[in-house]
């Protein structure tokens, strides 16, 4: 086990904490797994391109609950207006503002756990963490306490819920563990907008697990915008399970962060479910962003699309792994993957791996992945119309990433995000 893992294991509380028996048992399972396997290493296939040395060097320690969050310092403006807003500071729910729509309930996880909300136990216990590479999830489970429960009642529209994540800079680097549970009852709808931006000089790491359960015909739009500082770590896992005819749309934007890892996983349990995952990553400096997106088709007639675009410059490293698994019986599945990348600098690196695993009949599956440069013909075309070379390249690179923000259902939000992308757009070297 690495030095960091040993330290974090030592930081774990000795007993399983307070609360109902099943919660304590769950924490125990996580702690046992973590003490046995520790953190993932590059020997774990899913972590082949990501080493955690940078976290270890930072002397990362596990945050304990005794450190109460203070008021947030400076914070970037929100991307969009939302009916209901949550401020998460240092992994804990600090404040709620706005008025939730009828049908939308938001509770701190601690409250939810003490009330033993229907369906919460099943959801929390369903998080798969059998592999040696699941150390962060195990740690998250072992410290299960902080977080949020979002519930949308059957047949209602919860509107837009915004979660603002940030941590405050302090002398030592801390690891915050948080769990977000989203339950959409049948025919419920929600737009979940997550924004991650912490003040500069920050060297904390957040380990966030988001579990979403989509009932029949439920519809979840999930937008995740991340512009953390270069010293910050962000380890997140999104687990979505989808019942019949439900729809999950994900839009992820990585514009920042130091060490970023996101595991995005949708499981289509009911027939006719649809998963539409898209994202853009624009990296400069020494950022290291590792995205894994996986869709498991376990029922017939499902549809999934994965559409991701990436740009790496400076000495940034982008890792992108998409996977689709069509299980036996998931006939008539249609699965598409597309990943295109532009590499702008000689020191930057892009590693991509689009996987397909097919065990069913009558499946249409395809994937495409490219790594390359801007089309020089297009650059010349723009220059011949009067744009200078830099403008031409910027315009084309933005267009490349805009193909993701244009997919957003709210065009205004798409405009805001593409402006943000334009602002950080790296230049060719």
């Amino acid at each position: 086990m690495s030095r960091l893992a040993t330290q974090l294991a030592a930081d774990l509380p000795g007993e399983s904490g307070s609360g109902l028996q099943w919660i304590r048992a769950l924490r125990d399972t996580g702690a046992r797994h973590f003490r046995k396997h520790g953190l993932p290493t590059r020997k774990d296939e899913a972590w082949k391109y990501t080493a955690l040395g940078v976290l270890e060097q930072g002397g990362l320690r596990l945050a304990t609950k005794t450190e109460p969050p203070s008021t947030p310092s400076s914070h970037s403006p929100p991307l969009a207006q939302a009916g209901f807003n949550l401020t998460m500071l240092d992994g804990q729910l600090l404040q709620q503002s706005g008025t939730p729509r009828a049908g939308l309930t938001v509770l701190s996880l601690a409250d939810a756990l003490s009330k033993d909300i229907n369906g919460l136990q099943v959801l929390l216990e369903s998080l798969p963490q059998g592999n040696s590479g699941d150390g962060f999830s195990a740690l998250n489970t072992a410290t299960l306490d902080s977080g949020v429960l979002v519930h949308v009642a059957a047949g209602t529209d919860g509107g837009r819920l915004m979660i603002n994540w940030s941590t405050q800079a302090r002398e030592k680097s801390l690891l915050f563990n948080t769990r977000v549970c989203v339950i959409l009852e049948p025919d419920a709808r929600l737009e979940l907008l997550e924004q991650f931006e912490s003040p500069q000089g920050n060297s904390n790491t957040c380990n966030i697990v988001l579990q979403a359960d989509l009932g029949e015909n439920a519809d979840l739009q999930h937008i995740r915008f991340q512009q953390e500082s270069e010293g910050a770590g962000l380890i997140t896992r999104t687990e979505v399970s989808q019942q019949t005819d439900s729809e999950y749309a994900y839009f992820g934007f990585d514009l920042g962060g130091g060490l970023v890892r996101h595991d995005l996983h949708a499981t289509l349990l009911g027939s006719g479910a649809k998963s539409d995952l898209s994202g853009a990553y624009l990296l400069d400096g020494k950022r290291h962003v590792d995205n894994h997106a996986r869709v498991d088709h376990q029922a017939a007639g499902g549809f999934s699309e994965q559409f991701f675009r990436g740009v790496a410059s400076g000495s940034a490293k982008a890792i992108f792994n998409t996977a689709v698994c069509v299980h036996p019986g998931a006939d008539e599945t249609e699965a598409r993957q597309s990943n295109a990348n532009i590499l702008l600098s000689a020191k930057a690196e892009i590693n991509t791996k689009p996987e397909l695993e097919i065990y069913a009949d009558e499946v249409i599956a395809s994937h495409g992945a490219t790594v390359g440069q801007l089309d020089e013909q297009a650059v010349f075309y723009l220059r011949s119309r009067g744009l200078n070379e830099q403008e031409a390249r910027q315009l084309l690179t933005t267009a490349f990433c805009r193909s993701v923000s244009d997919r957003l259902r709210d065009p205004q939000l798409g405009e805001v995000i593409s402006q943000r992308m334009m602002d950080v757009m790296p230049q060719a070297e």
Binding site: A378, S384, R385, G386, N388, E389, E391, A392, A399
Partner: protein, 263 residues
């Protein structure tokens, strides 16, 4: 406005233009015809400053400036417009957005005021009206999924918005059916003005039925070998390009090739 003197250019190490000279005055339309491989497209690309086209000798003076010293975008801002033979598709870049970025870059270069989106849209509508084309092109990405005719119409539309002083139409007729050809030619004719020079590069005479040139030049093996009035195009159509090789040049009743003295 444009004086090309003894222009030599290479592409991938091979000499394509071998001493081409030409003088174009404002308000004139010159047609350049010639067989495939004569260097017609090379001329357009050299004037626009495409990479990979190496000028080894000669000069191009445009409105008193040495054009060959300018970057491609500076040439565009100076008023040189190339209507491409194969306009590239740029997925994801909205046509309107693109055109406004181009126009404002040129206006900025000339020290003019930047057009806001309202002003720009007004201008665009006006131009669409002049050219008698619908606005469906505006909402799509640049040339993406356009038919051959749509692409060429889009080039003419851009020319109308950017109002260049020199327009080079590179085989604008290629790949067009007769109706599309007429539409494009009408557009070009509407953009004829006393301040604007045009070079129409074409393989076939049929475009010149619709865009009547002031002068016609024949380009063969990297040089202009014959120059005449609009009727020269008709003669070429009748006799084909084969006579160029047969030394049949004298049999054509043409003006002598105008030679500009080397400075």
């Amino acid at each position: 406005m444009l004086r090309i003197t003894n222009l030599h250019a290479r592409v991938a190490g091979k000499e394509i233009l071998k001493g081409l000279s030409l003088e174009l005055k404002a308000g004139e339309i010159h047609a350049i015809m010639g067989p495939n491989g004569a260097g017609k497209s090379t001329l357009g690309n050299v004037l626009a400053g495409r990479e990979g086209y190496e000028v080894t000798d000669g000069e191009v003076i445009f409105n008193g400036k040495n054009l060959l010293e300018l970057e491609p975008e500076e040439r565009a801002c100076e008023g040189v417009f190339l209507a491409f033979q194969y306009p590239v598709e740029i997925p994801g870049v909205n046509n309107t957005y693109f055109l406004r970025a181009a126009l404002n870059a040129q206006r900025k270069y000339r020290g003019e005021e930047i057009l806001d989106s309202v002003g720009f849209l007004r201008l665009v509508r006006e131009k669409l009206k002049i050219l008698n084309i619908g606005d469906e092109l505006l909402h799509r990405a640049v040339n993406e999924g356009f038919s051959g005719g749509e692409k060429k119409r889009n080039e003419i539309f851009q020319m109308a918005v950017l109002e260049p002083s020199l327009a080079i139409l590179d085989e604008t007729d290629s790949g067009l059916d007769i109706d599309a050809l007429k539409t494009v030619a009408e557009g070009v004719n509407r953009l004829r003005s006393k301040d604007r020079g045009m070079i129409v590069v074409t393989h076939y005479q049929r475009l010149l039925d619709h865009i009547v040139p002031d002068r016609v030049h024949v380009l063969a093996d990297g040089q202009l070998v014959a120059t005449g009035g609009a009727d020269l195009a008709l003669k070429l159509e009748e006799q084909g390009y084969a006579w160029l090789e047969d030394g049949g040049i004298q049999t054509l009743n043409t003006d002598p090739v105008k030679q500009t003295a080397n400075p």
